[in-house]
Symmetry: C2
Subunit: 344 residues, 2 copies
């Protein structure tokens, strides 16, 4: 008998890059086919940081995902000169969160922030408006080394969380044991997303023992003990940790170039990979908590959405990841995953 | 007035990969043009591990470097089944050193060693024959992470050094503060080579903050404090630390591939880069110690070799590193170096 896992509602991707233009047309439908909601990252070029850009970006996504029971959850990018008076208008335009990128640390983050404290008026306004603050939790600056940036950011997370006790905060794509522990120590309004690739990779799969450009992402994967702590958090059932793929496609030539672009395109493989990982850790019964319920509670999402496609079934049947999806090499390309998504 | 630095003898590259066939014809003359001696690594395919292969590899190198005042110093690869009785024949064939590669850790090291103690009869024979033992000082094994392999190897270095007190040992291409300290604590017959790229890079230039395939080498570059310790050792004038480029060319497509090949092709740029680094640290007067004298003393080389071209002059005139040398992207491609080699 084939093993099946029925998710009673379609998953939520709490951290997704769908890019723009032709790339959006390629990647947004892949997520929309299987997910109910996705929190859409605003680091496009130019960034999503006005009510108008939220509306037009949402319209672009809805055009490409029409016919799917899928809702994009819009966010705006909090640049260092962001005017806190704009916050109510962002909410009016339907944004559910604002995202802070540290200066220079990831794709299109040249306009990012180096002084987080200068944004406190914005955080104050977001707390009042009931918007979620999403943080790329790495400290910028030449004096800090890449492997230390996330740990170096945790005090700043505490300063923000303790200053704005009613602000919902998500530390995105955490990669360290130290971050897991910090999230656990902070109250329920502070949560974290975890990607599927950080449950699989260590630094040695990226640029240590092996250099594989398609595994390179920000924050960079850390040590085995860090990966083990992330797995423990993901499979725990604790509502403070939920799935955000950070699926971040780049054309193959930008990954293989002299200087690689950061990001793993996990959207086509993340659910089968999660099923495989959760099964390996005897935690399949808690997969729905990680990929649906915890984010749904945190972001106050309603299910079923829409009512005619309430569920998704994962099935223990192997799939082989394609080597390429148009111009993009997906994460885990060419490898076999022991689970797949059941055809409706 | 243009600043010049006259090396009274041509430099010694105590660690060089010249590869085979067409690649050898491309890269060996580049080193032969400026260096007097180079210690030639034996990790070809098949490996250099018999007297015959030493003789034919030397002949191949001499064909490609004819007309230059250059002498290749031949080494043999110590495979895990190497018969210690062969050592005298290797010396007879002109080998000056044997090299141990840990299993699986670098180019063509699938046949490398995991049990260093099993080689003690070979080391005993080499001590007796007066051959140098060259070590790629990283500990193999899945239980060790890439960033820790060199530090994890240091106890093995001590075991070997204390068991064979008259064996000359070179720990190659050291990358950590811990290795610098270990070499300093061991007696004069234990030395280390340092590459130019490890004086410049940290892992943030390789796969941390930035992923640059042409910077990726083994052992991987470590932290800033490690790089600072290597610089301190290189400029110190201490004869236990000398230059070995580990120049390791790969065709561009093998660097940019899905899984990058390890190695930086530094032969065309290492001397100007070293002059720049030594000048930055007010250590130009000690450059000759690092690139000529220390290795010459350790390997008991004679100068001038040959007498008609005794010297090399570095001059403070900028050079721009070519983007490509035939099919190989050189280290520091496209960048300017403030020093160059004076045309004769």
């Amino acid at each position: 008998m084939v093993q099946e896992l029925v998710l009673s509602n379609r998953p939520v991707d709490a951290h997704l890059h769908v890019r723009q233009g032709k790339m959006l047309e390629l990647v947004a439908p892949i997520t929309a086919r299987y997910f109910s909601y996705a929190v859409i990252m605003p680091n496009t070029h130019p960034p999503i940081c006005t009510p108008d850009s939220i509306n037009s970006y949402r319209a672009e996504i809805l055009r490409s995902t029409a016919g799917n029971p899928f809702k994009p959850l819009m966010t705006f990018k909090i640049l260092s000169d962001f005017d806190s008076k704009l916050v109510p208008a962002m909410k009016e335009a339907g944004a559910i969160a604002g995202k802070v990128y540290p200066k220079g640390l990831t794709t299109n983050a040249e306009d990012g922030v180096s002084d987080f404290f200068a944004l406190f008026p914005v955080f104050e306004a977001m707390q009042k408006a009931g918007l979620v603050l999403c943080l790329h939790g790495e400290m910028p600056g030449d004096e800090i080394e890449g492997l230390d940036r996330e740990t170096a950011f945790l005090r700043t997370l505490y300063f923000i969380a303790k200053t704005f006790p009613y602000l919902k905060i998500v530390m995105e794509h955490i990669t360290t044991e130290a971050a897991v522990d910090a999230i656990l120590q902070l109250p329920a309004n502070v949560a974290a997303t975890i990607t599927v690739h950080h449950l699989l990779l260590t630094y040695d799969d990226v640029g240590g023992d092996r250099m594989r450009v398609h595994n390179w992402c920000k924050p960079i994967a850390k040590r085995k003990r860090d990966r083990d702590a992330l797995i423990e958090a993901a499979i725990s059932g604790c509502p403070k940790f939920f799935f955000g793929s950070d699926s971040a496609p780049h054309p193959e030539e930008k990954k293989r170039s002299e200087e690689c672009c950061a990001g793993c395109f996990t959207a086509p493989v993340c659910l089968p990979l999660l099923a495989e990982i959760f099964e390996q850790h005897n935690a399949l019964p808690r997969l729905e908590q990680f990929v649906v319920r915890s984010a749904a509670i945190f972001y106050e999402l309603s299910f079923p959405m829409p009512p005619h496609t309430p569920q998704l079934t994962l099935v223990k049947q192997p799939m082989v990841v394609p080597l390429k999806i148009e111009e993009v090499v997906p994460f885990w390309a060419g490898k076999e995953i022991s689970w797949s998504i059941k055809k409706e």
